[in-house]
Each structure stands twice: as C-alpha cells, then as structure tokens.
Symmetry: C2
Subunit: 422 residues, 2 copies
C-alpha cells in the first residue's frame, strides 16, 4: 500500500515537473530546440562506448533471464545502430518547425481576421517495450514539437533508456532549455504505468509502443487520450487489371521485407478472374523466400500445397513469414472483406485501372490506403516525417504515422479593429 501511494506520488511529481517545463519549451524558438537535438547527437557520438557498456548490462540481464534471441537482437545496440540514431537526430533537427504554422486564415464580413495556428500539444507520455531507439526518437520528436515527454520504457532496457535520457537532458541544458522537457519514470514498478494512464489533467496524451498485449492493456485502462494501433492486419488486393509482374514484386516485398513490422502484409486478396494465373507464380516466389501459405477453399483448389485458412486467419496479424490468401469478386469483394477484417492500418490495391484504384482509395476506411506500392512504406520515416513516434488507427487527432506535426494542437488568433458583437 505504501509502495502504491509512493509510485503514484512519484509519477505525479514527474508530471508536474513536465507541465512546468512545458510552459518554457512550448514558447521556445525552434533554433534552440534544434540545437538541443543536434547537441544530443554530438553527446551520443562522443559517448558511444558508454552507451554500449550500458546496453551490455541490459543484454546480460536479458541473457540471464533466458529471453529469446529475437528479443535480445531488438534490444542490442552496436556502432551501426547508434549511428542510425545519430542520423535520425540530425534529420529531425533539419525538418521544418511544426509550430507557429498558419493552418488557415480568413476574414469575416465584419473585418475580424481569424487564423488557426499550430501550438504544442502538451505533456506526452510514452510507454514502450524494450527498444532502445524509442527513447531517442520519442524524446527528440517531442523536443522538436515543443512538447514535454515522460518516458516509461521496458524494464529490460532500463540501463540503455537511462543513458539516452541523460544525454537528451544534457542536450536540452546545453541549449538553455529545461532538462525536464525529457524525463524518465525510472522504476520497474508496473503501477507506474497505471499512474500515468490515470493522470487526467497532468498528461495530455499517451502513446504506447509495443505489442498487442501492451497496447490492449493501455487502451483498456487509460483515462488519458491514447494514440495507438492495436495491430496491423494489412491487405493487398490484386485486381484483374493488375500488371502481374509488378503485383508479385509488390506482394513479395509487402510480406517478406520485414515480417515483424505493423505495415507488413498479412492477407492477400486476389480477383477471381486472375487467380488461376497469379497464384502458382506467387506461391512459387513466396515459398522460395520461406513464406508459409494459407488460403480459402478456392485457393487450395489451385495449389494443393497451400493449407486451408480458417476464419481466425483473416483476423490474425502473423508478424511472421505466413500469408493468408483469399479469392474475391473484384474490387467490391475486396472492400467487403477489408471492411470486415481490417484493423484499419494500411491496405493497398494493385491495378493499372485508375478508376478501380479510386474506388478502393475512397471507399476503404483505413489510416493509409495505397495504390501500386508496398505496404512496408507505412512508416513515418518513409512518409517524410523524419521519424515517427507511433502509428495510430484511431480517428481522433492523429491517424496513421505520428510525427512532429501530429504532436501539435492549435489555437485561434483573432485580430480585430475594435469590433463588438450586436
């Protein structure tokens, strides 16, 4: 009980420091914020060995806990990965200032000059699993957009998160900005997460980064708004008027480039008019890459080595080298399947017919809809946002990749000439 009270008090204190820092960082100028980001890059560069040493503690602890190799690989830093983090910081520092943008401006008949101008969002809470780069990505995107951030990383990366947080804070100080712009909840107590999720009025938005069970728990418990996606059950539809060669290239990339990311293809829909031509070639290519195939009854009639897919398959985000295939009746059949099973993350149509593409692009209600491109592009970096803090499938405020611009709110500025209202 005392622990319970203490962790809530600790988190609340962090939140209050964050709100105090927000009053300063939200009004700071972009040169200072960019300098803080560049200085952090510099500090990281001169401390690579210290970072590797901190990371090694996390790695050794993970090995002692017999965590699996994939987990340890995600957790591990090396020179290349740190260089990518540094490059990310430099990129973010070069991006346009997302604050003070005139989003709209108009004049009313009575002469009132009204504009809508972007302002920082507030105090952002990030709850993430043990991925070392998230600390720096999230921290720098929040600095860029004049927000403050409270980081709560997974306990298995706590040494790595701690050293990166420290460098972000040093970067801020070196630019005369408040170090509390970036804070870390330095506790492995799980109640710290609950305290953050209930901090209405102290934290403005929570962004979870991690697997489905983390996000599910957060969406269920949170009283604070959440930007998140639960899963990416992404679809590609190959239309009868697709260029088959290009289609196969896009499907193989969408599925196999990296199977573990949320933008990876999970269910392939094929127009019945071309299924007999496409499936044999595609199955061959995908099997050669190590992909396991499942299909509906019509699909397995075409290729007997494809296993039968069950209803659960259409609802599953494999995040693995497995693809479910369904034969549908044209673009409307594809849209119908997507409406029923999609997680509204990313869906793609492959066709040479622009009208069919337009039907798909307008009717499919997902955060990202694509025409003739790999679903693996569903990513803030690939969208030109510099980096992303997450991807949202919600409809409120942010949808799709969440970059610096999505971490802003706005206010109305009304310039008058002494008008009064009748």
């Amino acid at each position: 009980m005392n622990d319970h009270v203490n962790i809530y008090k600790d988190v609340s204190l962090i939140n209050k420091k964050s709100k105090a820092a927000f009053k300063i960082i939200s009004l700071s100028n972009s040169n200072d914020r960019n300098l803080a980001i560049l200085n952090t890059a510099e500090i990281i560069k001169t401390n690579i060995n210290n970072i590797l040493a901190a990371n090694e503690i996390d790695i050794n602890n993970a090995k002692d806990k017999n965590l699996n190799n994939a987990f340890i690989d995600r957790l591990m830093l090396n020179g290349d990965r740190i260089n990518n983090i540094i490059l990310g910081l430099i990129n973010i520092s070069k991006m346009d200032d997302p604050l003070g943008c005139e989003l709209a401006r108009w004049k009313q008949p009575n002469g009132l000059d009204i504009s809508r101008v972007s302002v920082p969002l507030g105090v952002i809470g990030i709850i993430y699993e043990s991925r070392p780069n998230v600390t720096v990505d999230a921290g720098s995107l929040c600095i860029k957009s004049g927000n403050t951030v409270i980081l709560r990383g997974g306990s298995d990366s706590i040494y790595t998160s701690r050293i990166f947080t420290q460098f972000l804070r040093e970067g801020l100080l070196s630019a005369n900005l408040p170090s509390d712009t970036v804070q870390m909840v330095d506790s492995t107590n799980r109640e710290a997460v609950s305290a953050m999720l209930q901090a209405v009025g102290e934290i403005d938005v929570i962004i979870p980064r991690g697997g489905k069970s983390l996000v599910e728990k957060i969406q269920k418990e949170a009283r604070v708004p959440v930007f998140a996606h639960l899963e990416g059950i992404c679809h590609v539809y190959i239309d009868s008027e697709a260029d088959i060669e290009k289609a196969i290239k896009i499907v193989v990339n969408s599925k196999m480039r990296r199977t573990g990311i949320c933008g990876a293809l999970e269910t392939l829909l094929i127009d019945k008019k071309i299924s007999k031509n496409v499936i044999p070639i595609l199955a061959h290519k995908l099997r050669a890459k190590g992909c396991q195939l499942k299909g509906d009854e019509e699909t397995i009639l075409i290729d007997k080595d494809i296993n039968l897919a069950f209803d659960v398959d259409w609802k599953t985000e494999y995040l693995d080298a497995i693809l479910s295939i369904k034969i549908v009746d044209g673009v409307n059949g594809a849209i119908k399947h997507i409406e029923e099973y999609s997680s509204h993350h990313t869906e793609c149509i492959i066709t040479e017919n622009k009208n069919t593409a337009d039907i798909f692009l307008s009717k499919v209600d997902s955060a990202i809809v694509m025409h003739n491109a790999s679903t693996q592009f569903a990513d803030g970096g690939e969208f030109g946002m510099g980096a992303e803090i997450g991807i949202s499938t919600g409809r409120i405020h942010a949808r799709g990749p969440v970059g610096a611009a999505q971490l802003t709110s706005f206010k109305y500025i009304v310039r008058g000439k002494d008008q009064i209202r009748d």
Copy 2:
C-alpha cells in the same frame, strides 16, 4: 437490474445502427447531404404549428415542475426562433463540403505521391440539456460532415427534441440517405448517458452541451473521447497603450451583451499605469448597465463602491452581470494571472501597440486569443463555421469552436508507381 441491462442493450443497439448508417453516409456525396439538410428546413417550415404544439407540452411540463423562468425561456420556441433554426439549416447547406479536402500533399524522393485527405469522424454522441435548437444544429452539422449522430437531450425538452429528430430523419430519407444517420436516445433514464459514455468502439466522440455540472460528470465518467469545455473564465486585459474609449466599448460588450454565454468576460485585467483613469469611467458605464463590480485591493482604493474580490472570484465563471477587476503590472502581469486562473477558453488584449499584442497572442495558451475585439465573438457562427456543435478547451483534435470541419478525421492516400521498400 433488468432496467440497467435493458438500457445498455437499447443504447448498444442504437450505436450499432449508427455504425451501419455511417458506412453509407460517410461515402455519400455532398449534394445529397445538403439536400437532406434543405429538405429538413422545408419540413420544419411546413410544420411550425406541430413544433409549437410539441414544445408547448415541454413548456407545460416545465411549469408544472416549477422550473424557473430563465429555464423556461431557453426551452421555449416561437416563430422567430424556429425561423432562426431554418436559416441555420440553409446556411449549413451552403457551406463548403468539409470532406475530401486535400489537407496536404507531397512527393517523396522515391516518387511516392502522398496526400492527407479529410474523412468523416464517425459516430458522434451529443449529450445536452434542454435546449431545443441543439437537436437541429448538432444533427445537421453531423449530416453535413458525413458523420452519424446519437442525440440524448434533456428530459425537459423531450417532445421538442423528438419532433426535430423525426424531421431530420425525414429529411435524410427524402434525399435517399439512411434515417439512422440521426437517432435519439428516447429515454429519460439517466443510465442511458452512462451507457453512451462507456461505448468504446461504438461511439467515436462525445460532445456535451450544457452547464458545468453536466460537463464535469461527463468528463469524469467518459471512456470515449470528449470534446468540451468545462467553463469559460474569459479575460480582457486593457494595456496602458489602449485607446480608452475603444477599450470601454469592448469591455462593456464582452461582459454585458449576453452574460450567460461561455465567451462572456468574467475577469478584467487593467495595467496599473492607466487604472486610475480607466476604472472610474468603466465603473460608471458598467453600473449603468446593471453590472455588479468586484476588485482587488488596489481597485477598491480607486473606487470605494467596488466590493473586494477574493481568490474565489478569479476562479468563478459568474455567467451573470458581475465583473471582477484586477490591476496588473503590464502585459506580463496579465499573462501571469491568466496562466493561473484561466480556463483556456478565450482571452483578449486591448492595446494600440502591435508588439505588445503579439506577445499576448503568442504567450497566452488558450483556445482563442484576441486583439481589440469583444470576447462575445468566441462562437462558431461568428467564426464563419455556419454553426457550432460546441466549444472545446481540450488540446486533442478540436480546440475552440467545433464546426463541421472539426468533425472530420483524415486518411493518407499513397499513390505509387510500383515502388518497393529496400
């Protein structure tokens, strides 16, 4: 217990019908939606007597319950008020389509053509007190923006709400759009509100319209996102470089035009350099209009007939002919007071010095910041949004007046030329 189960089931059924209607209205074209709105106006026009009769039942019930005159006045319809409702509908029908707008478009170095396009938000729940116009305003704004709406009005206006809901549904049907785009929770059971507030995944956003206690309850209970403002503790600051005559005109209008609206002035801040000149003239003008004055210790030294204000006064939204006055040290003193006491709704500076105005406009963190204009303009209609469904002081998604454009989300459309990701 059975009643409890039933009302949750009833509301859930309404929510599901709303989601089904959303699939159609969200893809409808704007001519049809505008036609539905215009037809509703026409139906209202030919049914004025029926509306007045329904409203009379509500009025009589309210009188039987000994509700006060102000309440009954807000509840009452007459020919003029119905005409205003009709004009509102015509205005909304003429506004630009908020859907399908290209909010941004850019090309990535690899040739991907990315655009962000506005789409409807989803299922909107409106919980409101007994104001008859809200049914039509909210219903028509949701139709305009391709959303569906679930209306839960106060029990004291149920006959009036019911007949307006019926006419909105008839208007939709006459334009071949689903009548379930507009539904009403036709129950005075308070648990219906709780059921709506907990409908995560069924209702996308809740917008309350009503007094502080209603909004407070909703913000506390809601699991669904809420667009709202709790109160409007609006400030006007008269700078030492203000034109005194204009300042007095703006202050009197901001306070006294209508004292009961959220954009009404509650606390006046005056630069100490001019307080001795301004307060006597202002006090005279305001008293002549029936306004009661309170002031800090310095203020009452200037005018002994002003009552002393206590700390609670700076935190009070009077919504009445009462004004609290504080003398501050320049624009920074004003900003400091606003930071501490404002509800972040609307604040205004009166000054002829553009630099001072710019400091105020950029530093004050409220949904609406004004220069030389009455705070009574803080209103969607006055902002040119046609009508408003509410005003939000939150930072997520909608801030300030919420019109049709604020009831949209967006999606990304990515047009490729067979790009795959490295």
